[in-house]
């Protein structure tokens, strides 16, 4: 493929700019640029053929090649960047003006001198450019025409941190063109800058309407408003977009910033009418009821002087704790209260639809912590129709044992629950782990595993009750050992 000479292009563009930069010809110039754009968008493919130093196939195989070592290249001003990214098959050349003060300019001296340039040197050069960026440009560039630039050129200047002016973009069409050009640059910083300009120069309804069809710009705008803390405007925007659930969540989020619990509760109450999804509405309702309840409990428990509060002084307030923590708290301090009270476990369980499994786990933890094994027992006791009590659990008994052990339950308690484990293998390993000798011995006996029993005997203290028990079993002639 033939390669266009970038210099030619540059010269052509620049000289043209030069000819049209008189103030009174503003309009003509921009019209010309406009029509040039139109023409270009029509014959895009051909254009690319001409200046194809970036012809690339996104789908995989290279179509052309990129020249990556172009020196002082200023490629064509035309651009195909208005196209959406995913659709591009060929990346068209995107224009760049002469280098501003990008970092690369610092390295210019490097290969010339061979060594590394002293930094203050290169920087002083840069800084001159920073303060007087126009001084080093060709004459045509130096003129004060920042206000004459096309949307595309403007956003490019913005990207490079060079002087620019947005004032001339007054018609809605121009403003939107500017925005679309910024989006085509992929530079979030420039997109935000344009949005800030549009925010101040457009009626918000109009801006919202236009953003609706511009997803990338919209997301930048939402994020900008979030960061600026412009909650009100954000809510209006989301509402205008019909994103009511997002809007509701956004408003709900505000409660996090409210320190005072009373005000927080009132705020949550006001959230109840927001258009949440059905599930979330239930959760927010829970949140409000929970805090309301916590405030009541906290007020009375703060000055409570019951025995349990003296024995186990509260370490922290219950305010703003999760539901399960609240349940645990109530199982700890308010166990056995009648269902009518706000602080009773039964009431909390019912109000917040806590599953049986979850309830048992929490209550077990709290009662075991208090070492009230009787309460623990009664959690699992069920009576059948004949009046016999039987232990049942929605969680595996091996988990129950774990929790009990973590709370330093005595061996007699542990043993009882280890015995309830269905799976013999699990039962045995738990029994071994927690040294429930009786169970180990009985299990080996039931398994008719003589060898293991002999091994186990060796671990026991001589003449202890367990030891004698093993002896007894081993000498029992009626058992048919499997080994």
């Amino acid at each position: 493929m033939t390669r266009a000479k970038p210099e030619d292009d540059e010269y052509w563009n620049r000289s043209k700019l030069k000819a049209f930069t008189f103030d009174d010809e503003d309009d003509e110039f921009s019209r010309l640029k406009e029509s040039k754009r139109t023409v270009n968008s029509l014959v895009m493919d051909d254009d690319d053929e001409e200046d194809d130093f970036e012809k690339v196939s996104w789908s995989g195989e290279p179509v052309g090649s990129i020249s990556w070592s172009v020196k002082e290249t200023a490629s064509s001003n035309r651009s195909g960047s208005e196209q959406g990214f995913p659709k591009i098959d060929t990346t068209s050349s995107l224009s760049k003006q002469g280098s501003g003060y990008s970092l690369s300019s610092l390295f210019r001296a490097k290969s010339k001198s061979g060594g590394f340039p002293s930094f203050s040197e290169s920087f002083s050069e840069t800084s001159i450019r920073t303060y007087a960026p126009e001084l080093r440009k060709p004459k045509s560039d130096r003129k004060n025409f920042v206000s004459d630039l096309s949307p595309e050129e403007t956003v490019r200047r913005m990207q490079k941190g060079r002087a620019y002016s947005l004032e001339k973009f007054r018609s809605l069409q121009d403003k939107l063109l500017l925005l679309d050009e910024a989006v085509a640059l992929y530079d979030g910083n420039v997109i935000a800058a344009v949005l800030i300009y549009l925010k101040t120069s457009l009626n918000k309804e109009i801006l919202f309407r236009e953003l609706m069809s511009r997803d990338v710009a919209l997301r930048h705008y939402v994020h900008y408003l979030k960061e600026m803390g412009e909650q009100k405007l954000l809510v209006e925007l989301l509402k205008a977009l019909g994103r009511t659930e997002d809007m509701a969540l956004m408003q709900y989020k505000e409660h996090l910033g409210i320190k005072d619990e009373g005000r927080r509760r009132d705020f949550l109450k006001s959230c109840l009418s927001l258009p949440f999804s059905q599930d979330d509405a239930t959760h927010v309702q829970d949140h409000y009821e929970l805090l309301e309840r916590q405030i009541i409990i906290e007020a009375s428990d703060k000055k409570a002087d019951g025995e349990i509060f003296k024995k186990f002084p509260r370490k922290a307030s219950i305010l703003n704790m999760p539901i399960i923590t609240t349940l645990y708290y109530s199982c700890f301090y308010h166990y056995g209260e009648s269902e009518g009270t706000y602080s009773s476990p039964a009431n909390i369980r019912k109000t917040f639809r806590i599953s049986e499994k979850q309830y048992i786990l929490t209550a077990l933890g709290a009662r075991a912590k208090l070492k009230l094994w009787f309460d623990v027992d009664s959690l699992f006791n069920t009576k059948n129709w004949l009046g016999y009590t039987k232990k049942k659990s929605p969680i595996g008994f091996h988990k129950v044992v774990d929790i009990l052990h973590k709370n330093n339950a005595p061996i007699s308690v542990l043993q009882e629950y280890v015995n309830l484990i269905d799976d013999t293998e699990v039962k045995l390993s738990m029994a071994l782990k927690y040294k429930c000798h009786d169970i180990v011995i009985n299990t080996y006996r039931d398994l008719k595993d003589r060898q293991q029993l002999v091994v186990y005997r060796a671990k026991l203290e001589r003449d202890s009750v367990e030891y004698r028990k093993v002896q007894e079993i081993l000498s029992n002639g009626q058992i048919r050992w499997k080994n």
Binding site: W58, S65, S67, K96, S99, F107, A192, V222, P322, I323
Partner: protein
Amino acid sequence: MFVCRMKENGRKLCFVRASNMSVVKQALTIAKPLPEKGEEVYIVVKSGIVLHMAQTERRDAPELPDFSLLKRIARDQLIFLLEQLPGRKDLFIDADLMSPLDRIANVTILKQHEVDKLYKVELKPIVSISDQLCFLIRPRIQTVKWISDLVNSDKAAGRFRKYKIIFTPQKFYACETVLEEQGVYGYITTDEWNFYILPLDDDILSLELPEFFRDNFLEGDQRWVSTGGGALHLLQSVYGSFSKVYGIGRCAKMVYETWREQMEDGDLRTKQPEFAKVFLIDRDVDFITPLCSQVVYEGLVDDIFRIKCGSVEFGPDVTSSDKSIKVMLNSQDKVFNEIRNEHFSNVFGFLSQKAKNLQTAYDKRRGMDIQQMKAFVADELKGLKQEHRLLSLHIGACESMMKKKTKQDFQELLKTEHSLLEGFEIRECITCIEEHINRQVSMIESLRLLCLLSLTENGLLSKDYRSLKAQYLQSYGIDHLLTFANLRQLGVLVEQQPGETLTVMESKVGKLVNDKTVGKLTDAFSSLAKKSNFRALSKRLALVPKSGDEYDLRVPRDMAYIFSGAYIPLSCKLIEQVLERDGWTGLEEVTRMLNGHEFAVTAGGNSSEARTKTDAQRIILVMFLGGCTYSEISALRFLGKERGCRFIVLTTAITSSARLLEALLDNHA
């Protein structure tokens, strides 16, 4: 020189005997590489020393470029900027810039440039009495607002000071607008410190921008895209141009584009490149890998102790003293360097062997005469002591980690995780996760497993989603409603949606039959729509080895070793495949399942001719947009050894399951 090869228990051994080391070096670099792939090499030099080269040095690994240059560039630029505000000044530094700053400049350098006092930016009123204030910050609106307030209160109090803000790595218009709106524009000078890249190690470069992840992938804000391009441009300016670029992901494409434009802009000399290939990958191409528990030493240390900017703080439980020690973890630490990529189960054995060797080395002292002792003290003792110190630290760390990881919970969670990856006994997995939530065990762990469940299963069934979400909110706070909204937005924890075609079908059916039937039909449809991309991807790329196969973690056979042989990281597998095929040809189905956005670009001109077998051709830069984990780095190091190449990782930040999820939490103001 004498070479002897043998096979033993499936290990390929290669013994090389030579008169001296230079001969051996020669042998290792001759055209037909010796040793062969997969061999363990033992070198026996005349003096009788056996050097175990493991599999690491099996081919002459190409030399990596010297990245310390980047530090110098950054430091020099900072000094220049400080000099722009002559005279004594107080410096306020953003909290998350302190560690990176530490790596490139120290307090002495700052003092030399008339920095008087150093403060951390805390967004609170300040106590400084200096009449020049300099702020070194990330371009964040909140910080700029704070500075504006400060200036305004000074003005109100009739106090005159000079202010300068140095934004790094760049300034944003939004920040400047704040200055303008607050009426302080003009009172403050602003500058940019283009500190794009911090080298964390020989092969790890970081942008130190953890917010890249949330900003880009959750908020959809592209503010860091050109920063990514700038980083690549910087590398190219210093180390030469690339011949080939591959990538996948929306952000990767944009970063490439901005980079390409900057390339055209600057003048680059065609110099001999120091690396030649670049691979860009978006984090959202693979969320599964960073959400898996790390079990390779370096990753595990990060998961448990959190490595910050290449340094870790070991607490009293590790140091077995009453104070904490900060340690740099990089290739300079000889002990760490040997274990960092090892599966945790191997590390203990290695360390104890090392301890024995150390003992032997110390014991040499016995029976030495004065001269020998003198030499010993001069040449060896310092090294031994250093090794001793490091060894005891890592042993301490191992112990501490063992204690945490041998708990019942961890084993069970790991089992659940592996089942999820394998797609095996999903019901049991859900029960296990549920119980974890019910018991209010680690909030992040629960979330991690929920996300893994959703990602591997392509979303949760509606009833599971609702029930698990409700239980999660009960256990960890209803505020997490917002977290769930974020996770859904990002697509890492979602409810299964019946496909669009199905919805159309339903509505048609709906007209014909009554509501109840429609409900039933929907159920049936959604179970049909449950076809998961991960499962298909995993099958297509063979990510999950068949269960039942024994996996010897001491002799890893593929990258799956970093997850105990249970899963080959998708991200790294993609990189391997693309490099192997020199493009995406043949991976069409895979990219379709990953939502496309793949590309492969070759540079034109003479660089293609220069594509000979130079070292540079075997150095590959992998850029992770949105962060990468230490496990992925280990996997790439393994891949490099397998293929006789080296990978350099350029990441926006080091991430981990906890960091990734914490970035998505929204339960605080």
